[in-house]
Subunit: 324 residues, 2 copies
């Protein structure tokens, strides 16, 4: 079974399902597994560590995987991009920062340029800078973003740049989401939190269990966890995490947390190290409601394709269309 | 042409398209037009004015329309609900407040109880209090709400209360949105901003023009406009409006605006009266990107059904499903 779109044609994959390059979580193993299952894995270059990237690209082996960067962070050490491009990845994904300074280099290396965008303005700018694929990112997902929401944002991007393949990102965790994204005008989806709760994802087992047991009513957009890990992003980015004792203690008290940053950052780092997610943040989106297990990543792809194919083939008995 | 679901069966209508009971904007004329076009119109009871309600229910005439209340406001004058129920509407919609005190009365009068919910907890509570239909409301829409987003919230509600028909609300403005909502597990949609920009909607022509020319990148959730019209809602509700000079001037300065409330409220009221939307807020959602004209409401229904029916019938050439 397969679902083809102009996105799968361009990426030369079987299913329009991309792995979000979640910092650290999307390692070589997870990315390779998603690609081998017919999707497109993207390694999370995150804040940039050359030895980590070298190792994980090695782990991915001959699987066709891309690499994603947090652009404003990578821009401080552009050598990281060169390092990755020397290894000839089929695609590079840029998120959260200026596309223009890096686009030429990426295209020249023969990689597809995937740009994740959070506003219509960013979408137009990315396309003006030769993006091949856009990821239209809503703020309901885990991790960083701005404020648009997936449901109205995807069709708006589709209308603004109709000639560019689009993946809908954030809030998508099952075949219903994939089918809905295609209805809205997307050509596929990019999946974060659902793949975080997979066997192959890096990161602690306790964090994965938190995702399985959490409710989407209980997430928060915040910069508290960035302050606590001494990693404050440029405005206007904030990030979505599961609420916990730490977020509730400091909510609305960002300035005060900054004033106590030294001692709190130490406590926070220790909590992360031991997997204490009452203090450390689990980065996850509202779609946690739809996540109830920690299967192999290939099983996630299979389920998503099967469910979406059924819905798209009109197998549902939930509606009836009459032509008169 | 028609699209039937268990929601249309229950409401006895042709299309699963409900008019959001936008305060003042959803008057008798608009509600009746939507119902006569095959959807289900709901008059906006808003903050409650008996003579307005009497007049608008009269204008709707023999069209089958419901009435929607801002529950916390109506609860201060429950006589309003009695007044409406005496006129035997087919359905009452409650949003933003406790369902329990009013549910018995509504059901006893033979009306369907539609409950708009913003969290999974509210969804379960509404069903425990005999709701017949839920409206799962994301925060990307215009007007008041909380913080869940339509794309991941709708399937979560569908999973939590599978036996209850659900309308997806907020961010839906065309047939793509209707088709996507059905894929996500909803049985229909409830439409606000798109119907605001219709010929029949009450409210100023200038506000409708603002909706047509606005971009979804330029909306904001805020309580500033509530402070300025002396109408502060209970927590945790905030409302989405188009950004304008007023919102940008006062953003982050809620306390200061309260301290200047007397003079600012006067200025604000005058701006509303003359249609100066550089100061007065246009209540609208992120879906403004998808709204480019001010057609008759029946034309909006027709377009939405035609587009959705095409998508649901697999007429799209944007994807191909292969079974092997």
């Amino acid at each position: 079974m397969s679902i083809s779109t102009r996105l799968t044609d361009l990426l030369k994959v079987q299913h329009p399902i991309l792995l979000a390059p979640m910092d650290i979580v999307s390692n070589g193993q997870l990315a390779a597994t998603v690609s081998r299952a017919g999707g497109f894995g993207i390694i999370g270059g995150g804040y940039g560590d050359e030895s980590w990237l070298a190792r994980e690209m090695g782990v991915a082996g001959d699987a066709r995987v891309g690499v994603g960067f947090i652009t404003w962070s990578m821009a401080k050490r552009p050598r990281l991009l060169d390092f990755v491009l020397e290894r000839r990845p089929p695609a590079i994904m840029l998120s959260f920062g200026e596309v223009r300074p890096h686009a030429g280099k990426i295209k020249k290396a023969g990689a597809l340029l995937i740009c994740q965008v959070q506003t219509l303005e960013q979408a137009k700018d990315a396309v003006a800078n030769d993006a091949d694929i856009l990821v239209a990112q809503g703020a309901e997902g885990g991790g960083h973003g701005i404020s648009r929401s997936t449901f109205p944002f995807v069709p708006a991007v589709a209308d603004a740049v109709p000639h560019i393949p689009i993946a809908a990102a954030r809030g998508v965790a099952d075949g219903r989401g994939l089918a809905a994204a295609l209805m809205l005008g997307a050509d596929g989806v990019l999946i974060g939190t659902r793949f975080h709760a997979s066997q192959e994802a890096a990161g602690s087992a306790a964090a994965k269990e938190c995702i399985v047991s959490a409710t989407g009513d209980n997430t928060i957009r915040s910069i508290l966890f960035d302050i606590a890990r001494r990693n404050v992003w440029p405005a206007p980015y904030t990030g979505r995490v599961l609420r916990n004792s730490f977020s509730e203690k400091w909510r609305g008290r960002e300035a005060e947390l900054l004033q106590h940053q030294d001692e709190e950052a130490d406590r926070y780092a220790k909590s992360r190290a031991v997997g204490d997610f009452d203090t450390a943040a689990v980065i996850a989106g509202e779609a946690v409601d739809l996540i109830n297990d920690i299967p192999p990543a290939a099983e996630i792809v299979r389920r998503m394709v099967t469910e979406a194919a059924g819905l798209l083939s009109g197998a549902s008995n939930r509606y009836r269309v009459a032509q008169q």
